[in-house]
């Protein structure tokens, strides 16, 4: 094992595709510094900060907030690796968040359908809604050759209108009433870890993963060996729908409510997810790390407010967005798949 802070290791991290390593090194470094400062000056801000960072409640809310970011980010990897840039992840999160809460309220918490508990039904309904919307997006992009960015924006804006619309139809307001139950953070954390490992396996260890990468990098080659490029791309986009559905449902059910005012409760997490996987350079593990970092920042600002620091909460909420911009400016050139964003015409 090399010393992670040694110059040679840092140098390696800055070069080529070692974003993941620099991410890990950076995060560990900051945490270690904070820990040392916290132990040395327990009465200072650093002391409070380190207590926040290492407290279990921060960990719990990090897991809760990381779920939509990481899961949507993993979905985004599948879509983009296959050659379809899915900027509509935000919309998928919004629609699944609403539908999951709606399904739970229809079934009634505590009831079961065919032996399936209400919250599981809620999860499945959220996933189904998100996957359906992703399927529409896929048809529009692959069959009708729409501009992927504009179509993705449309997915976001449709969900941004549809979820509050349906909420008003069913519940008389853009916010749903609270279900009175919430899914614990342990479940979110488990889902996130399982999905990350599963995605890594699917991308790197299976034939499907190879096809997916080929569809994004060199669709012609894939076509030549007789694999349908559009089928692979459909699979990639649908997977992004499934994973975002899990993320959106987890977000809403961890609170037990859908909030539809303004930018809805999703509040840009779908876009942060895009940055998370870019930052992780399309690597599921890196996406998990980046997602946890962004979620951790968010969780920290919530705790800071609870401790009564006189920082206006709105200003602290802005930190993750600024970090995303800074990260994007620093990471900038990621290795975007060669054929991402382009339509592919099968040659006869």
């Amino acid at each position: 094992m090399r010393n992670p802070l040694s110059p040679s290791s840092l140098l390696a991290g800055a070069s080529e595709s070692s974003y993941v390593r620099s991410l890990v090194v950076g995060t560990v470094g900051v945490l270690a510094l904070l820990g040392v400062l916290g132990v040395a000056f327990p009465e200072s801000v650093a002391g409070d900060l380190s207590r926040i960072v290492f407290s279990t409640s921060t960990g719990a809310s990090t897991a809760r907030l990381a779920a939509p970011i990481v899961l949507a980010g993993l979905g985004g990897i599948f879509a983009e690796k296959s050659g379809v840039i899915n900027i509509g992840l935000e919309g998928l999160l919004i629609i699944s968040a609403f539908v999951s809460v709606y399904a739970a309220s229809v079934v009634g918490v505590g009831n079961a359908v065919l032996g399936v508990p209400a919250l599981v039904v809620a999860f499945l309904a959220g996933i189904a809604a998100s996957t359906f919307l992703a399927a529409v997006f896929a048809v529009v992009c692959i069959e009708f050759k729409a501009d992927q960015i504009i179509a993705g924006l449309a997915v976001w804006l449709i969900a941004l209108g549809l979820a509050p619309f349906m909420s008003t139809v069913f519940f008389g307001g853009v916010n749903t009433p609270n279900l009175g139950v919430s899914v614990g953070w342990q479940y979110s954390a488990t889902l996130v870890v399982l999905a990350t490992v599963g995605s890594w396996w699917l991308l790197n260890q299976t034939a499907f993963g190879k096809h997916l990468r080929a569809a994004g990098e060199n669709p012609k080659a894939l076509d030549t060996v007789g694999v349908s490029v559009s089928k692979v791309r459909y699979a990639g986009v649908l997977l992004s729908g499934v994973l975002s559905g899990v993320g959106g449902s987890a977000l809403a059910l961890s609170i037990g409510q859908f909030v539809g005012s303004g930018e809805t409760m999703v509040q840009g997490k779908g876009f942060i997810a895009i940055v998370a996987y870019l930052f992780g350079n399309y690597n599921p593990i890196g996406t998990l790390g980046a997602g946890a970092l962004f979620a951790g920042l968010d969780a920290m600002q919530i705790r800071l407010q609870q401790l009564g620091y006189a920082v206006p909460d709105t200003l602290v909420q802005t930190i993750p967005y600024v970090v995303v911009i800074v990260v994007l400016a620093l990471v900038g050139r990621t290795q975007i798949p060669e054929a991402a964003g382009e339509h592919y015409e099968t040659e006869e």
């Binding site: 504009i150 449309a154 209108g161 619309f165 802005t318 911009i325 400016a329 900038g332 099968t346």
Partner: protein
Amino acid sequence: MSDSDSEESRGQSVLARVVAPFVDRSVAERLLISVAAILLSIVVGFALVLVSGRIAGCSSAAWTMPLTGLGFCYDPIEVYLVLFNGALGYPFAVGDPGLFTPGWTPFNLSFGLTLSETTLLIFTGLSVAVAFRAGLFNIGTQGQLVVGALATALTVLALAPLLPAGPVAGVVLIVAGTAAGAVGGGLWGAIPGALKAYADANEVITTIMLNFVAANVAYVLVLEVFRAEGSSVVATRYVPEYAQFRPWLFPASSDFALLALLGGVVFIGGLYYFVEHTSLGYDLRTSGVQAAAAEYGGVNAKLTTVRAMTLSGALGGVGGSVWVLMSEGRWMASIPDLGFDGITVSILAGNNPIGVLPAAFLFGVLKGGALEIGFRTDVPTELVAVLRGLIILFVAMPEFFRMIGRYTGVGGARGAGGSGSTEPDEPAGGDGGETDA
């Protein structure tokens, strides 16, 4: 070129010259696609209203489907009648004898509200359009508008005490406020431009993030520093009456000023001239169409990117100025989604500045009509937000309409009217997409 084509008859040549910039094949086709997209989204919205009316609970059915006898809580026909008729102040008599409502004038409250939305959407639509022409997706018009609006409100409030109250001071304040809005929005737009040019950061993401940042920072600034005393909402003080656009002819509560609309039209003309007839505009267009070729031709692509985003942000900022000086009279926290609607307007307009005018009016009708839907029906006004998304989705898939056109023979024939060569090769591509499945 268009002149030589149209020398067959004098009348035709005049007409051709007037419409020449808009009537090459692609523009005619875009127009057709935009209209088709609107119609299709209305149809889907119709179905949505029906379905949600089936699920929502009500005591008596508002509409019963012919033949089936199924009852629905919402009447989609009424919704659209209220939407389009109401947006104009009910010029058409529905249910009453006669086609027109007697005593209807265009200077009514509802039509004023519609035109007010139209005016604001002209600016945000132009903002998105100019970035699109340079090949940039500016999703950040919303944030640029928020910053521009705040800059305007603060500038006017700061300058007002220095000048004697009166119409002259009003003109000075409006000009200064609008300039401040343009500078504020322009600077906010320059940030993602510079990040794109020099750090290769995707402008779609950075502009969306900057929207959140702008909203939050402006909110905190007003909450902590500039909040009006005794105000129950987070808002600045009102700017003086004489420094606001006056609602000539229209009722004051419509928040609409003809002068501002006129200003918007001037901006459309100016931007059209800039994009189509100046060398800077040429640089902008070429880097939008073919960045590498533009660079080869001596265009500084990085600088063009920053310039385009700055101009785009400045237009969004002016939209914010108009919002403050015409609609609200102050900066307040709940700023409507004008920037996002500007995306729809621009896409509907095919990113053509001239097209922004009808697109903004259409969207103004939708927004004005949404208010009427809220007053007169039980259908949630969020319907219009759904329509916005659907319109963008449908405009984004021209291939869909081409396919329909090919099957029915309608679209193809109309598209061919613009010029001799439609895409005869295109069907091969479309079929290829299906055969490989």
